[in-house]
């Protein structure tokens, strides 16, 4: 026993000193992502605020549910589905639009511009975190954190809506079973997660990475600089060749449109049963891989720019 207790502290102190010499890159990344959440609280506050607003509206609207369910009893199943699922779809769609896309766009434009504008880049660069790690940790926000935040908030919101609806139905003496049967919360949420990962993370990646590159490059007005080049290309193409391929390309990218395996634009994710979405079809679509390759290039340029650029 004595010998053991003598050995233990020594071994401990040895690992301690070893640990103080280097910090694994994963830990630096984790703290850098946390730092982004400290700075940009809108990442979770904006979708949460939208969720709360929506819930309030939904609760007010809820008083009409028993009547609607009653009326839907005789109509066709598809109409019934629409009527019941309507508010649930628009809730998640609203949240996705607002948090994942708008917040992501503004975050990306600010990410590498704000730190130069307020000169804090000089502080961040005084720490042993490489430009690559910094840019990757910032790219994690629109590509990983925001979809997950949106998913969590949407699930919580929809669960609250379901419970409230059920309570309302039970209180008025109707059965909540048709509601649950039609909605199927689990496939609904799986579909949402699938939509977030495929569209908002993977398909939109080149948009976010382009914005981050512009925010690392522009001295001022990154929003304008992000919009002008695509606009210029589209106009030049129109004048030179009379075509609009580039514009169509952009539209398809933003609308998430001709994608094999996923819902088309304007068609909410929850309306598609999970079984109909084909991950294989998505994974072999060239649009996905071209987009991801572009994303990687944009990020590498952003890393290089951050190395050269100082405060503005």
């Amino acid at each position: 026993m004595n010998m053991q207790s003598n050995v233990m502290p020594e071994a401990l102190s040895q690992t301690e000193t070893a640990a103080t010499v280097t910090i694994p890159a994963s830990r630096r990344m984790l703290w850098s992502v946390r730092r982004e959440l400290w700075e940009y609280r809108s990442i979770y506050l904006a979708p949460a605020a939208v969720a709360v607003l929506f819930l309030i509206g939904f609760l007010i609207n809820l008083f009409h549910l028993p009547g609607r369910m009653h009326a839907a009893g005789g109509s066709a199943p598809m109409q019934q589905f629409e009527m019941i699922a309507g508010p649930y779809n628009s809730a998640s769609e609203l949240l996705i639009m607002l948090s994942t896309f708008i917040v992501a766009i503004f975050y990306c434009l600010e990410a590498l511009h704000g730190e130069r504008r307020d000169r804090s880049i000089l502080f961040w660069k005084s720490l042993p975190v490489s430009d690559l790690e910094t840019v990757l940790s910032k790219a994690c926000i629109p590509l990983v954190v925001l979809p997950l935040v949106t998913f969590a908030i949407t699930v919580v919101t929809q669960f609250a809506m379901l419970m409230a609806s059920s309570a309302m139905l039970l209180a008025t003496g109707q059965s909540a079973a048709p509601l649950w049967a039609h909605l199927g919360p689990l496939p609904m949420w799986l579909g949402l997660l699938y939509h977030l990962v495929t569209i908002h993370s993977l398909w939109y990646a080149p948009i976010f990475c382009w914005l981050m590159m512009v925010s690392a490059w522009a001295r001022r007005a990154p929003f304008l600089w992000a919009l002008l080049p695509p606009l210029a290309i589209a106009i030049v193409e129109k004048i030179a060749f009379g075509t609009a391929h580039f514009g169509e390309l952009l539209r398809d990218r933003i609308a998430g449109a001709p994608m094999p395996g996923t819902a088309s634009a304007g068609f909410g994710p929850m309306k598609m049963p999970v079984m109909m979405l084909s991950p294989a079809g998505f994974l072999i679509s060239p649009g996905l891989w071209v987009g991801l390759a572009l994303s990687a290039i944009f990020l590498l340029v952003a890393v290089r720019l951050r190395r050269y650029r100082g405060p503005i």
Binding site: T20, V21, T22, I23, R27, R28, L30, W31, S32, R34, R35, W38, E39, E115, D118, R119, S120, I121, L122, F123, K125, S126, L127, P128, V129, S130, D131, E133, R307, Y308, G310
Partner: protein
Amino acid sequence: MACIEASGLRKAFGATVALDGVDLRVEEGRILGLIGPNGAGKTTALNAILGLTPYQGALRVLGRDPWTERDLLMRDVCFIADVAVLPRWLRVSQALDYLVGVHPRFDRAKAEGFLAKTTIRRNSRVRELSKGMVAQLHLALVMAIDAKLLVLDEPTLGLDILYRKQFYDSLLNDYFDRSRTIVVTTHQVDEIQHVLTDLMFIDRGRIVLNCSMDEVEARYQEVTVIPEQLAAARALRPMYERQVLGRGVLLFDRGDREQLAAMGEVRRPSIADLFVAVIGNQAGQTKGAAR
């Protein structure tokens, strides 16, 4: 191994040459004051040393190339680039958490100890702190890092005299030991005179003076010359002459101490006066003093 070693360091922004072939060597355990007029290339030199800007020529800091190995170098190098570079949204506690998370040589207990001597609260954001408190916070963070080289670029700009004095006092008393190296630039030259071990003047991208404070002491004499002796003193070819209260004050480089003592009161020149003399001679005219 020297802490900083540069030869032929060059950096130009378009047609403006910020560094024009700088050679320098800073040994471990020194406190070097890098003094120069505005636009002389001080900040450019520091930025090159810190890996913030690309350069031409050879430069090694702690044996590393700062431009390609900035992140590794920053384990052993700290810098305060300016008074106001801490992000304004950052909370004091977040700054501590983050540094523990990413910096292998950051000692949180030490930083807490330094902060305990101030009135800075843990949950304050940087934007809520006064300029002096932000400087205190940054210094506390930096002093808690067990670094080999500390670079300070105008660390006390805009602070009042109390904060400035406290800044250098704690730097000397709580931080500096003979194994660390500090490089500092400032316009408040006289305030750091007693702090420095080495002195370097830089003007228009070139080093115009580079010596230890002991050498400064041995080499330069400032004499308040008795009026009758003025002509004789001038004959000894002073490097600079100025008038103080109607009396000639002459600065000599390697003058004969006994000879000078006979002409008036001899003392060590202040860095500011030496600066004016050296830079003034360089330019062929007196430039704005670094006071």
